[in-house]
């Protein structure tokens, strides 16, 4: 793993990137959260297909989908597209 640059002297001669954006916890943007009801889920993976934030995770074919709440932005596409109404959007707790 490359060290993050501390001063301009550490900058590379050409602007290449070192890290992925995965450390950005975009889940903090969210005001509503998707909750999957596995009883209703048919594992069609439509929610996985349409999540713009790669926050519906399915390990392998046959598994149930899980939400990555560190990155899910709460757009609600998954709930809107789920043909079995297995996903509900719930309000985040007020702090």
């Amino acid at each position: 793993m490359v060290e993050a640059p501390k001063t301009y002297k550490d900058l590379p001669s050409t602007p290449i990137t070192f890290f992925t954006t995965e450390d950005n916890k975009t889940g903090t943007w969210r005001t509503i959260r998707p909750v999957i009801d596995k009883e209703k889920c048919t594992r069609c993976y439509i929610c996985w297909k349409f999540c713009p934030d790669l926050s519906i995770e399915v390990e392998k074919e046959g598994d149930y989908p899980n939400v990555d709440y560190d990155h899910c932005k709460g757009c609600g596409i998954c709930a809107n597209e789920c043909p079995s109404n297995a996903i509900t959007m719930e309000k985040e707790m007020e702090k």
Binding site: T21, E22, W29, P52, E61, C75, G76
Partner: protein, 301 residues
């Protein structure tokens, strides 16, 4: 035997979490599907626009493939340059993609694209059409449809909204002699991936026109983003078709086209439209659709 549920698109992901697109944005989906179709030996050339900006701030990046951040006017030229370099090095198994927004294609990058088609550059050119200059705050582009509100076509009076039709980019390129062109929509991922897989190994310039919603720009509820995009095709406003060496064909048959009203009324950018204007838009869409069917008929005889 028990049926094991299946993925309908490839499992591999080349887009990382933590990118900064707005909730419900269609652009990261288009990137996901494109890279699922082309795989990791792909180089993207992206100019200014949301497609480049949402990928992150140095030193972090949201794609697992190399990207050249090129100047606005020259996406197709830079892509062709990378291709030429690969050819010299003998790299044959990598795809070179120009990826620009609608503004970066039909307005700012048009001459570089037309020159690439003229040379029949061996690249895939993907236009991410969200129907305005979104990254700079929703200014009208050559792809903004009739009737739409934008910040430069404000709805102050009856005729404040955009009154010019979308530029016919596909027809420009077909007239230019492009070997392959197709329209795809983020609401139809399987079709999206099928088109790219079909295009990727054709020699010459391939043009892919992607429709992708922008939630703040279209004034839509983020959760409706895919629903709205799907309606664009179901109403015939954005038909899915391809053109191979001048021969047109539909890639998604729509049996009973839905009224355009259903598409328009879900979006704040069209909400000012009155009955008469909606009827006018319906008429334009019907005519355009008939023109497309005629082209299909004429080029297949």
């Amino acid at each position: 035997m028990v049926n094991i549920p299946k993925f309908t698109i490839p499992k591999e992901e080349y887009v990382c979490k933590g990118h900064s697109a707005c909730p419900g944005c269609g652009t990261p989906l288009a990137l996901r599907y494109t890279l699922k179709a082309l795989g990791k030996r792909t180089v993207l050339n992206i100019p200014a626009g949301c497609g480049g900006v949402i990928l992150g701030v140095w030193p972090s990046y949201a794609l697992k493939v190399p990207v050249v951040d090129n100047a606005f006017e020259c996406t197709a030229a830079v892509a062709d340059g990378i291709r030429a370099g690969f050819d010299v090095l003998g790299v044959e198994d990598a795809y070179v993609v120009g990826w620009a927004g609608d503004g970066g294609t039909v307005d700012i990058g048009l001459q570089a694209l037309s020159a690439a088609v003229d040379r029949n550059a061996n690249i895939i050119y993907i236009m991410l059409d969200n129907e305005a200059y979104m990254n700079t705050g929703i200014q009208k582009s050559g792809c903004t449809p009739i009737g739409a509100w934008t910040t430069t076509t404000p709805v102050a009076d009856e005729k404040g909204w955009n009154t010019s039709p979308k530029k016919r980019i596909m027809e420009m390129l077909v007239a230019n002699g492009i070997v392959y062109g197709a329209t795809v929509n983020v609401a139809f991922p399987e079709d999206f991936i099928a088109r790219l897989r079909e295009a990727k190994d054709i020699k010459g310039t391939k043009f892919i026109h992607v429709l992708a919603p922008c939630t703040p720009g279209w004034r839509i509820d983020p959760k409706k983003s895919i629903e709205v995009a799907r309606l664009a095709t179901q109403t015939g406003i954005f038909p899915l078709y391809k053109v191979e060496n001048g021969r047109y064909s539909l890639t998604k048959e729509i049996k009973n086209r839905k009224p355009v009203r259903e598409y328009l009324m879900l979006q704040g950018r069209f909400r000012h439209l009155k009955e008469e204007a909606i009827n006018q838009i319906q008429k334009i869409v019907d005519e355009e659709y008939a023109r497309l069917l005629k082209k299909i008929k004429d080029t297949n005889e």
